[in-house]
């Protein structure tokens, strides 16, 4: 091994309680992906629904939904997430809920903008003339044509959800120890910063790598689905 006293039984070494770091990192990946995926799904579904409503009812309902979203956007997202977790109490499920609430406005705004763009198209008028009811117009006619930016946004917020979850864990508000969540592991490793570089650097490296991978996927999806945006940063 590279380090004095290392042995092959624990390839990446052990943490302050003698637990194998590699196993905990691998176990933690399940948690991070779970948090990312579930918070995206939980905010995507109501986000799309609210966005559709806001797009279809531009008189009273739409603006009130959008004002509500503005209010949520006005607070810094991590601060809002911290406040929500402080109210609900730390833990896995509450972390997911907090991240889902925080990322809701972006879906609503995106869906509404896409819906407004589609509503004046001829095919919508045609569907309306053919007697399509409101739910059919919303979900069958318009929604599928708004999906491309939503899919890209969902991928990108997947990665930011992982980052936010790790940040909450790092602040001691996310998933609680001894659960091997990456941010939580980092927080408890912080005290050993002078003696054991591996317990500090490796959890962060896994966060970086997974977020990077998902961002690369998001870039690829954007190029494939939304060629207009190809060269934007």
């Amino acid at each position: 091994m590279w380090l004095e006293g290392g042995n092959w039984q624990f390839i990446l070494g052990t943490d302050e309680l003698g637990r194998d770091l590699l196993s905990r990192l691998i176990q933690g990946s399940r948690l991070s992906l779970l948090i990312g995926l579930s918070s995206v799904v939980i905010s995507l579904i109501p986000g799309i629904f609210l966005g559709l409503l806001a797009g279809f009812f531009p008189r009273i309902l739409g603006p009130s939904i959008m004002r509500l979203m503005d209010v949520m956007l006005a607070l810094p997202s991590l601060l809002l997430a911290v406040a929500i977790v402080a109210i609900l109490g730390p833990g896995l499920i509450n972390t997911v809920i907090a991240i889902a609430i925080v990322s809701l406005p972006s879906y609503v705004r995106l869906t509404r903008a896409a819906v407004m763009g589609e509503l004046n198209r001829d095919y919508v008028t045609a569907a309306r003339l053919a007697g399509a009811g409101l739910p059919r117009l919303m979900f069958v006619t318009v929604l599928p044509n708004c999906m491309a930016p939503l899919i890209v946004q969902a991928t990108l917020s997947f990665s930011s959800a992982i980052l936010d979850a790790a940040a909450l864990g790092f602040l001691g508000l996310g998933v609680q120890p001894p659960t091997p969540e990456w941010g939580t592991m980092l927080a408890s490793a912080r005290d050993y910063i002078e003696r054991a570089w591996w317990v500090v650097s490796l959890p962060g490296l896994t966060i970086l790598l997974s977020v990077l991978a998902i961002n690369l996927m998001g870039d690829g999806l954007r190029d494939a689905l939304d060629p207009k945006l190809k060269n934007a940063a």
Partner: protein, 319 residues
Amino acid sequence: MFSFIARRLGLLIPTFFGITLLTFALIRLIPGDPVEVMMGERRVDPEMHAQAMERLGLNKPLPEQYLDYVGKLAQGDLGESLRTRESVWSEFLALFPATLELAIAALFFAGVIGLLAGVIAALKRGSLFDHGVMGISLAGYSMPIFWWGLILIMFFSVSLGWTPVSGRIDLLYDIEPKTGFMLIDTLLSDEEGAFKDALMHLILPAIVLGTIPLAVIARMTRSSMLEVLREDYIRTARAKGLSPARVVFVHRYRPESALPLPLQGVLAGVFAQQRRGRRADVHEPDRVLRAVRPLGRTAQPQRAISRLPADPAGVARRR
């Protein structure tokens, strides 16, 4: 045009009330007794407790408390901190220059390096340097910066000993806060080496905070630069026999350097808000760590969060 602007501004009013309502609700919903927060862990006898509640106006019904809060807010009174008993304004004004100083330093770092890297990458499109810059900037974009800060501290402060681990200035120096900007204050004082010390304290936090904007700026500069390079006037300038450096920095550089600027403005706002949460543990360790650290450890979120009730409008105001 005017009616459009007026309508947009009119929308601010309901949004503002929404924000006050939301912050008020969040703070009231956070579990914990404000009087206990004030008194610390000691047991408070019920009579004193009732008195304190009376004094703070916390025994009134919630809608009335909300109206009090908004009424005071409209007069510019942000209330006082439950913990330090100082007015929120004075706490805010004392801390804000530090935030601003750090945000400016980070943007300076990100802007200079990001523009240079983006321009060179675009000029040498397809080269190793180009791929390197784009790869690194994508990594920077994905960076968990609370970890990045730790890594840099570990390397530069602990292993190499180049920069201090935390704080804004060494305890050796006694700097009178005239402007609140440590760099300016140290210049104004006649203490030897104080400026350099303050600078060393600022460098690492600025780099960490500038990492994500740096990545964004480098990518945007490169792509807008690539577009400009295709324009005819660049070929004309080269044909006139202008030196390559002049073409790059005068002719090519200008049009797109205007583009990332608004971006930087936006980011400056973003960071001023997010700094406290993300990069808590380097720049102002005692104040911020006090706020952040005990959260998980003591399982008493309300104690740590007591900074929030102190500062509901400060949160809104930071925008």
